[in-house]
Amino acid sequence: MKGLLTILRRSPRAAFGVGLLAALLLLALLAPLLTPYSPTSQAFGTWLKPGGEHLLGTTALGQDIWSQLVYGARLTLLIGFTAGLVATAIGTALGLSAAYFGGRTDEAINVLINVFLVLPGLPLLIIASAFLRGGGVWSIILVIALTGWAWGARVLRSQALALRNRDFVQAAIVSGERPARIIFAEMLPNLAGLIAAGFFSTALYAVLSEAALAFLGMGDVSQVTWGTMMYWAQARGALLQGAWWWVAAPGLCIALLGTAFALVNFGIDEVTNPRVIHEARATRVLRRNRAAPQAEPALEPPQPLLAIRHLSAGYVTPQGPVRAVRDVTLSVAPGEFLGLAGESGCGKSTLAFAATRLLDAPGVVFDGEARLAGQDLLALNPAELRRVRWKDYSLVFQASMNILNPVLRIREQVYDAMQAHGVQDRGRLEARARELFALVGIREDYLNAYPHQLSGGMKQRVVIAIALALEPKLVVMDEPTTALDVVVQRQILQEIDAVRKRLGISIVFITHDLSLLVEMSDRIAIMYAGEVVEEAPAHELYAQPKHPYTRRLMGAFPPLEGPRERREGIPGRPPSLAQDIPYCPFFERCPNHLPGTCDVFKPARVEVTSGHSVACFLHSPAVKEEAYAAD
């Protein structure tokens, strides 16, 4: 019930569909109130035109067409709903049992589904009803359901199969729960949207099939449905008499009913299947008018390659904005290796994407700026952005199986990054591709492969290779090595580092692995709940972590030397990023917190020793003024 309301609220299309459906249902229910005449009475003049006593005129036999329409809604809807229900029940039962029992049962059901999918439905229906003539409405319903269940079963089976492999169902199976309980209590509720969608599509199929059968004169044409109305209109030559409304009205009703079913379906899909769409529009930037950049204090030389200033970014959700990046100021010098660490969900990826203008909707930049070599990325238009992307900076995405286009060869995907930025010569492309593959340690023949032929780790290396293709000034790597084993990981990082030193490119490296960062980075920034809470040269951060969070983080990871034992994690959870946090975000978990201070004021990040800044009252009394209010 609650799910239904959400769907109606979020999808105007579904709401319109439900409204339409309700109107047609009311038509059927309130038929006696809507017309004084019986639909079968032949008491009136024949071929009367619409208007006056008879809203839609009368038939060749002198029946009132409006009465037929409203009473006809009853049987039409009954057939649609019942056949839809029966077909959905069959489809659900078969789809779920296939997924639950697996093995041979699944195989058999799958073949059955495939057979019924391709058997041409209507011709089969016609033949079947020609033989079952005279069986009345119920035989029609049955035949429609028997020819229409396969589509729903197919979709349901594949979804249920996916569901079966999910943890909670697996857990239930292992704990020895009965199949019926697992199917009904664990799997069914998760498939409700899909089952509803299946119902509405088969109901549509049923209504259209009934109309078609009735129109061909099969089924019981003495009953009043929208289908039989059109049969009689055609049989009596309504169009030749110019009584087009006799044909038009019932057909329009069927089309509207079908549209209502389809709209509800559309809405269910829109809401239960929300998608992040990667589209052409660059990240939305909602900056308020600020003072001109010159008003900012002059940057001391050497000028940073990437300067992120007061950047706030996050996501616009129906429950309100989520501020995943909060007033972050950070810079990366040319040739520098900057490490970025922090717990999962603290906003590292959001920062990386927002600063490079790659954050897709619902992501937005609320405020701030990100300058690459002096150029404000957040002010570029899409065409300008396309030119600087990959040429000036590249981004290695967080581990993902679907990062490469499954239908193109690897070679084409390595080439096209270079081709998009002016490298056209085949020989150069090929030489560069081979060079890159050697660099990340993949055999060159994999250039000919398709992505599914590569392992996860190989895909990651391909992506790293593509990121280095144009030797951009800045490479942002979001956990680029998580799918690799430790040995390969080090090896690749050393290669990347060698390239960095050789070409003088800068790298922003995001990871959970603090010990790795300490080893590789020049500087490290620690993020917590959307903020950078500490930033320092790597060796100094390692030797003297100042922020209590950094200290705990160091403690949670094994030391560089010595036994690799697991330390205890940090108890507690970070605050929700959907709320304002006008105090130290860490105070609830902080062992050193100062009551009356840390939970009332927000510490500002200040440089406590050269190049080492931290936001904590233990180290500086500076209070940060809240720069933003909720937009």
């Binding site: 058997l119 041409p120 044909v247 079908g258 790659l358 998009a420």
Partner: protein
């Protein structure tokens, strides 16, 4: 199992199911179909037609049901579908051979046009999401797709043939024309226009929705985000990344939709008296011409299955994963 072999086995199995249904259905009828037919024709039936009928249904066979079944299979394999009752003594296969080109021509051309048109609009509607026209398309498509085929056909007939005689009222050709002469072609096209319009308008909406869903699904994949990050041109992303991937699921949908389109075309032909299989099927049903009816059903099933198989083969060509047997 190799992908195509599996598909072929399913084709054979489906064909067998269709053939068997064809055998079982007449035997489910209360009473016997031959009796019903004789009653219907009220003695006007040629006595040799009655014999032919009994022969067709194996009713004069002494063997049991199984024996009848195998006799029936044997006849099918020999291509012997018996003789039509309504048009006695024309062999059923002759009627089909004469009607089939009309239907295949009409449905084939219209389906291709509808798929291309619908998919193009669906791609546009997803790609340009948020623009008024692109957002108005899906509800319109849902409406067009929900119209009963024959209803839309009737309206077209009324408006464009009856009220204003832009197009002919019925038939497939004007009589007495030299085949393949220019006037013959014009006449052919004029007669085909309204049926074609019906099929295209009512089925393109379905393709639009399918394609739109596919494109939206693809546009939420990481490889699209990555392609954008690479700074690829819009044209390249659209062609090589979005379209190539979004077309694939359309192929699976194609097979399922084909049966539906064929069904709709039967009704369309009836409305326009277009001389194809649909009209023959309709006549066979109204005349209780069971042999013709069953043969047409088998023929349609076979055609749909073969079309499906061709599409499956194309699918394998386009998707490297299927070629390697990694996905269904």
């Amino acid at each position: 199992m190799p992908y195509l072999l599996r598909k072929f086995l399913i084709l054979l199995l489906t064909l067998w199911v269709a053939v068997t249904l064809n055998f079982i259905l007449p035997r489910l009828v209360p009473g016997d179909p031959v009796g019903a037919m004789i009653a219907r024709y009220q003695g006007k039936l040629d006595p040799s037609a009655v014999d032919a009928l009994k022969l067709a249904y194996g009713l004069n066979d002494q063997g049991g049901l199984l024996g009848q079944y195998f006799a029936y299979l044997g006849k099918l394999l020999r291509g012997d579908f018996g003789r039509s009752i309504g048009q006695f003594p024309t062999p059923v296969s002759e009627i089909i051979a004469q009607a089939a080109p009309w239907t295949i021509g009409l449905i084939g051309v219209c389906t291709v046009l509808a798929v291309v048109l619908g998919s193009a609009l669906g791609l546009y509607s997803a790609w340009r999401r948020g623009q008024p026209l692109a957002d108005a398309l899906p509800p319109l498509a849902l409406f067009l797709n929900s119209m009963p085929y024959f209803w839309f056909a009737l309206l077209l007939l009324y408006l464009l043939a009856f009220k204003s005689s832009v197009f002919p009222l019925s038939g497939g050709l004007d009589p007495f024309l030299t085949p393949h002469s220019p006037t013959w072609w014009v006449s052919l096209l004029r007669h085909a226009t309204l049926p074609a319009l019906t099929i295209i308008v009512t089925s393109a909406g379905g393709w639009l929705i399918t394609m739109r869903n596919n494109v939206m699904g693809v546009m939420s994949e990481d490889y699209i985000a990555f392609a954008r990050a690479k700074g690829l041109s819009e044209g390249r992303i659209l062609n090589r990344y979005v379209l190539r991937n979004a077309l694939l699921p359309s192929f699976t949908a194609f097979g399922m939709a084909l049966g539906f389109v064929v069904g709709g075309s039967i009704l369309t032909e009836t409305v326009f008296s277009y001389p194809g299989l649909g009209l023959q099927l309709y006549n066979a049903v109204t005349n209780l011409d069971y042999p013709l009816m069953q043969a047409i059903f088998l023929y349609i099933a076979l055609a749909v299955l073969i079309a499906n198989f061709v599409v499956d083969a194309l699918y394998a060509l386009l998707d490297p994963r299927v070629r390697d047997g990694k996905a269904a």
